[in-house]
Symmetry: C2
Subunit: 417 residues, 2 copies
Amino acid sequence: MGLIRSWVQSANAADCPFPLNNLPCGVFSLGEDEPRCGIAIGTFVLDVTGLEEEGLLTLDGAPLLGVPFWNEVMAAGPAVWHALRARLTALLAEGAAERAAVEPFLHPLSQVALHMPFLVSEYTDFYAGRHHATNVGTMFRGAENALPPNWLHIPIGYNGRASSVVVSGTDVRRPWGQVKGPDHPVPAFQPSRRFDIELELGAVVGTPSEGPVTVAEADAMIFGYVLLNDWSARDIQAWEYQPLGPFQAKATATTISPWIVMKAALEPFRTPTPAREVPLLPYLHEPGPMLYDIALEVALQPEGGTETVIARTNYAEMYYSAAQQLAHHTTSGCAMNTGDLLGSGTISGPTKDSRGSLLELSWGGKEPIAITGGTRSFIEDNDTLTLRGQCRGAGYTIGFGECVGKVIPALADPYAR
Amino acid sequence: MGLIRSWVQSANAADCPFPLNNLPCGVFSLGEDEPRCGIAIGTFVLDVTGLEEEGLLTLDGAPLLGVPFWNEVMAAGPAVWHALRARLTALLAEGAAERAAVEPFLHPLSQVALHMPFLVSEYTDFYAGRHHATNVGTMFRGAENALPPNWLHIPIGYNGRASSVVVSGTDVRRPWGQVKGPDHPVPAFQPSRRFDIELELGAVVGTPSEGPVTVAEADAMIFGYVLLNDWSARDIQAWEYQPLGPFQAKATATTISPWIVMKAALEPFRTPTPAREVPLLPYLHEPGPMLYDIALEVALQPEGGTETVIARTNYAEMYYSAAQQLAHHTTSGCAMNTGDLLGSGTISGPTKDSRGSLLELSWGGKEPIAITGGTRSFIEDNDTLTLRGQCRGAGYTIGFGECVGKVIPALADPYAR
């Protein structure tokens, strides 16, 4: 499939992240107005709440876009998702009869503020990148024990904190926490000195489930994907994570990109998970390709400085797909709900410059990386970190929109009121 | 303080769990009617939604009880909680002028169904019982390494799954999961054979927070407490929990008792945490006694058989209080919300018969315990497990209501549709 041409001319450029093939879902506001649901098209956002109000867009016979989040559409299921895309494609396609009626609902992206695109129900983070797990395991447990014994059998995951999830552009305050270095007899309470990113893709659950679901059913439940930065305080993590896993190290913030790229937009880019090193149990078998060919990069920009791209990788590097992760998540009978967010785990490639965290890039701080005008082991105050992702089709691009966060200094006294 | 006498005579019995001193918050329904908010008093539930509708109870100048959950009252804060208790005490006290107006809003507890008393926002489980951590650590890592190095410094916690929380009386289906015994070369996917309880107390967050809070502020945020059974599949847990903590082992169900006992009802029973074995960092210092003297027990009843009380312990056995846990939870800047639920961690005492899990009681299955008519290492199908808790005052009792769950057999094929 090639580019679907739109009467919105900016959407037809080969490198535009938001062609008619994409139609990602966000929430925007104009000036002091209340936030509304919008779809990115070219250099514009289309006010779909307005289209629904005007009767130009009807989904499922009931208003689903009267709230400033996409959860009602997500819960409505695949038939509604398909109908939404079909109607928007008809309204925006080159030669559409409704152009004059629709055009007033376009606003330049440069003039709107973007908000959280959905209400996060619960957040789960996984550990499903083979290279990342090997790198981190080597640093923490030695090369011999790098990969835990269960890793090739289970998409390892742990529950994160939904209240930590924020939209791109939100400043992230360096956290305080309890840390203990190997040379210190007792722990200290201080601002994190090893604050880091994790480059991930987030899968957004649309339709809920009650009991265990198959991988195919799990794939059908997923509404779409976002870029996700799982900010991590490595010094806090190292001291707290045994025996029950990361807790406060991961609770400061989790930044997502502002547009949910619907699964349908990614269909042409499906790609299989890599060959299994050991056979998976049947409940994790995939009925088809469940990863996507999404080129990813991480950029770091110091305050007032020049940006350096510090890593380039691809979502296809994952060992487990989001559908496998979601299927595993339900094995115990765990109910999944509309708005559940699943982080893929850090996406690192096989080469040094394809690692998705500073922990790996600087090898625990031992090998600081070069950036324009300096070096970095971990994030310094007022650094801005940006994740980007895109799929390249024949003559078009599917973009995710940037996932940006600036790390601002820790509070001088976290208990001062 | 002694018993506060009520014109509801059944509330004045010394062993009644719901005297006027208690006033716990629940949600009930009568026949096919919609669920409403209620307060337990004696052998009755008082329809406080009805009192609000009739103008007999006004909180904060706005209706807070028009929804079938207590979150709006919880979010309204301590002044409203105090006003609620003061008004209900006035309405229900012996000699109250409003008796005739209030009496129609009483329904026998035996005639109502009880529902989840609040909407769970997020669920966190802790690991804060010294005896439990030592017992489990000894079994898993040997007596030398029983207590992790961070345990005496951090109230260790991990995020659980809010969607797993159900109200007392809900059947719990034995989960399937991925397990691997030490003698097996590869894992298997099968129903859990080591399904267990964890006897805990749950703290319910009332007012939200944004940044780090002190222990005193954390205590002020807590609305009340429930009994909590953190059902745990030990065989799934053993294989999955390294390196990122328990996941599917804990996601099948988490049962809570149907009444939130407000903090005010527990005030007379405050008791300090035990002496510190090593000094805590200042951010965890307690301004006063933060535990409660709550006698707890666990009973097991096979299908058609006789109940055996298999453990008796006390919440005062904890090493960390809920206020300390909540304060630690916020150190990273993690936002806490109305309806967040914090499990205390398994409450085991120092003696064998005071252990709060079958894992400990049967020492990993090696020493099955005697019950009437048999023995148990772990839960068998159709066993009913009941948690109970009470505080004994001078001439009165503060009860929690039972926290009951029956374990029903695993699905024959979890993917059959």
